[in-house]
């Protein structure tokens, strides 16, 4: 079985400050890390390959320095790694990013399972997985909480849809987006890091993709228009109640504001 994990490099601190006037992202330091949600994708891939055999491949799209997250995947035990990078990809929105990633996956030969994280800590849309699967024309299971069964031809997983737990079986090849805490991610190994120091992180550029039409990538290929970026409003209103029967009043208030539901 060949498993591809999609990983992304994000700023070290998840609190990205926005300049409220200009809407420009203020990145305090250039320090980065692997998107923490992607650690669960890597761990899931490694566990499947340990029990079912096969090859693990890490793929990231980003600037040249994003190679670091692929090296980290090596230190966790990944076999191969690719960096999808090209000036033509700059300014990609979710659609263009997903198209580029799906194109890159097509260059990897037979792939049975693609695993993504739930979301990133910077872009935070949670849409890349689903869109990649759409471009590839394969099934997608999002919010995967648990893998129940894995065979050569299918995978059965529990997906948390927020209100319902859904057990789904899909034919392979498929894409799954795993939830946080599906497994405790292992730490990168120093020994592996040294062993893989010279291992190549292969570059994939526009020229290597089946679709080389520039207008499908980067700013040009991005139908999303960012009209305005602003920090969400925070509401710090509060009321201070004193006197008798506070619990009773609180109960009534919560009921009135529809925070409470009668138990059936």
């Amino acid at each position: 079985m060949t498993i591809v994990a999609l990983i992304k490099q994000v700023p070290l601190t998840s609190e990205v400050a926005l300049d409220p006037k200009t809407g420009v992202i203020q990145r305090e330091s250039g320090e980065t890390k692997m998107n923490p949600y992607d650690l669960y994708a890597l761990e899931t891939a490694l566990r499947i390959s340990q029990t079912h055999g096969g090859k693990t491949i890490a793929l990231t799209m980003g600037p040249p320095q994003a190679e670091a997250v692929v090296r980290e995947a090596f230190a966790m035990g990944f076999d191969e790694g690719y960096l999808l990078t090209d000036r033509a990809f700059a300014g990609s929105d979710v659609l263009a990013t997903s198209h580029a990633l799906s194109q890159a996956i097509r260059t990897l030969g037979q792939v049975d399972l693609i695993i993504t994280g739930k979301q990133t800590t910077d872009g935070d849309t949670g849409q890349v997985g689903a869109e990649v699967s759409e471009f590839l024309g394969i099934p997608c299971v999002a919010a995967v909480q648990q893998l129940l069964e894995i065979s050569e031809t299918s995978i059965t997983a529990t997906s948390d849809t927020g209100t319902t737990l859904m057990t789904v079986r899909v034919e392979l090849p498929a894409l799954i987006a795993v939830d946080k805490d599906i497994h405790q991610p292992r730490l990168p190994s120093y020994v592996r890091m040294k062993q893989t120091e010279k291992r190549q992180v292969r570059r994939i550029t526009l020229a290597d993709l089946p679709d080389t039409d520039r207008t499908h990538y980067g700013l040009e290929g991005s139908p999303t228009q960012v009209v305005k970026i602003f920090p969400p409003e925070s509401n710090t209103d509060f009321a201070l109640w004193t006197g008798v029967d506070i619990p009773g009043r609180l109960y009534e208030y919560l009921q009135k504001e529809k925070f409470l539901q009668e138990l059936a």
């Binding site: 292992r186 730490l187 190994s189 120093y190 592996r192 890091m193």
Partner: protein, 477 residues
């Protein structure tokens, strides 16, 4: 409440039980009646600390708010021979903050103001009730840093100073004592003194400040402290290093400590304690492949500098039989190992019916042999033990677990095992307590492990500060 007067172990004066006129008088000294709580109205929490086995209620609890108030209370208590026990958050592990002889419990929790941040001299002045975690929060945006890092972050700084708390960064930065510049102290008589100063060095006579540090409420009440700060280290990376067994892990420690930049922490941990903690937290540990681990942390100004140490330490560890070295280099990864480490004590407690603790400190090269010795005792006496600790400073935390032993068997076995451990520690040049203090729980071990003249000096010091024996009677000596 004791119905007959009891004498302190120093035996100078009979301590009195409070009478209604005493309570009246104390009420007059405290402006807010809510801050003075009497008899049964005192919450049960105030009759023990985290030792739990020593239970004794104070007769009156006063939540003090100022030095002047404490001074007035002490003046009254010394005039009338009433016991006074200072209390921070009651997280101590040796029964220190327990009113063994009733009397007044003086809670410092409400004296929790930050008084001054002197950026130029890198000093922070606080009231004693400020919590350790509040100091960390307060300093975070300033670029300054208070290094001592004991496990219990909800302890007060007054409690930390009074027990000379150690913690997780002692290898590189030292302990609480190394960061106390000056103290304001209310003496037993009610007089207020300022000891130490804003100065960086001081050779001016006996260091009263240093006697106060670690005195567990027996010499005076700390009402203000000026702490030394350093620049915040910008980057921290931890290494979780698996070894085939504890012996191999511990024997790598001396070499790890010789690297060019001293690590902040070198902790040892074993699989069974990790398992107990994972279960307690409901969260798996990132690695379960080995029987024993060292957890080493390095900090510094840049990732590159820290990585040099990480590299050096990993190489040294691998040269000493480590199976690998796992990197915890992001906040999430650090949390995944340190949250487990931070919960060991609670997890061990939750895994059995009762625990007793031995907090010995031994020369670093004796750690492995000491742990081995404790295993022999475990087998010999049929008493389950679990341990973890600060390998980098030779400070072990060994816990006896009662499980389903009956009271008599438990007591006999704990006593036999602990006596043997303290004897052994003494024989190899160790000390009874590395960081938790003596309080009530370790008094006899202190008495039997220090030389007679040393104990006499300690008693004389106690008498010099507190001739009537009213300050936290029944503790230390």
């Amino acid at each position: 409440m004791p119905d007959t007067p009891v004498t302190t172990n120093t035996g100078n004066l009979a301590l009195r039980t409070l009478e209604s006129h005493d309570i009246e008088h104390l009420r007059a000294l405290v402006d807010d009646p809510k801050r003075i709580i009497v008899g049964n109205a005192i919450h049960e929490d105030y009759s023990h600390d985290e030792l739990h086995t020593l239970v004794h209620a104070p007769e009156v609890l006063i939540e003090a708010v100022s030095t002047a108030e404490i001074s007035a209370i002490m003046r009254y208590a010394s005039a009338k021979g009433i016991a006074v026990t200072a209390r921070g958050q009651g997280t101590g592990l040796v029964g220190g903050a327990v009113s063994l002889h009733g009397g007044i419990m003086l809670s410092l929790q409400k004296m929790n103001k930050f008084l001054e941040l002197d950026v130029e001299n890198m000093l922070l002045t606080v009231e004693p009730g400020v919590l350790l975690m509040e100091i960390a929060e307060y300093l975070a945006p300033t670029g300054l840093f208070y290094p001592p890092d004991p496990g219990e972050k909800s302890a007060t700084i007054g409690g930390n100073i009074s027990t000379n708390a150690g913690g997780m960064r002692a290898v590189k930065y030292g302990v609480t004592r190394d960061y106390v510049r000056s103290l304001e102290v209310v003496l037993a008589s009610g007089e207020v003194v300022e000891v130490g100063g804003k100065v960086a060095k001081n050779s001016s006579g006996y260091s009263i400040k240093d006697l106060m540090i670690g005195s567990e409420g027996t010499l005076g009440i700390i009402t203000k402290a000026t702490l030394k700060l350093i620049g915040q280290p910008k980057v921290t990376v931890s290494l979780l290093i698996p070894f085939p067994d504890l012996g191999a892990a511990i024997s790598a420690v001396p070499a790890i400590l010789k690297v060019r930049q001293v690590p902040t922490a070198v902790e040892f941990m074993q699989r069974e304690v990790i398992e107990a903690a994972s279960e307690y937290l409901g969260r798996p540990f990132p690695d379960n492949s080995a029987d024993a681990y060292l957890l080493v942390s390095c900090d510094g100004p840049t990732r590159r500098i820290v990585d040099e140490s990480v590299d050096e330490i990993a190489q040294v560890a691998l040269g000493h039989g480590a199976i690998d070295a796992f990197l915890a280099d992001t906040p999430e990864r650090q949390l995944s190992v340190w949250s487990t480490r931070g919960t060991f004590l609670e997890a061990i407690k939750a895994s059995t019916s009762m625990i007793d603790e031995c907090d010995v400190v031994v020369p670093r090269n004796e750690v492995a042999s000491f742990i081995t010795f404790s295993y022999e005792l475990q087998a010999k006496h049929g008493l389950r033990l679990m341990s973890f600790g600060h390998a980098g400073d030779g400070n072990l935390h060994i816990y006896a677990l009662r499980d389903d032993l009956d009271e008599a068997t438990w007591t006999t076995r704990v006593e036999a095992v602990f006596a043997a451990m303290y004897d052994r520690a003494h024989a190899i040049g160790g000390k009874v307590s590395g960081e938790h203090g003596i309080g009530f729980a370790k008094m006899r071990y202190l008495a039997s492990s220090e030389q007679e003249p040393t104990i006499r000096l300690m008693q004389a010091i106690k008498r010099a500060f507190d001739p009537q024996g009213i300050l936290n009677p029944g503790k230390i000596v």
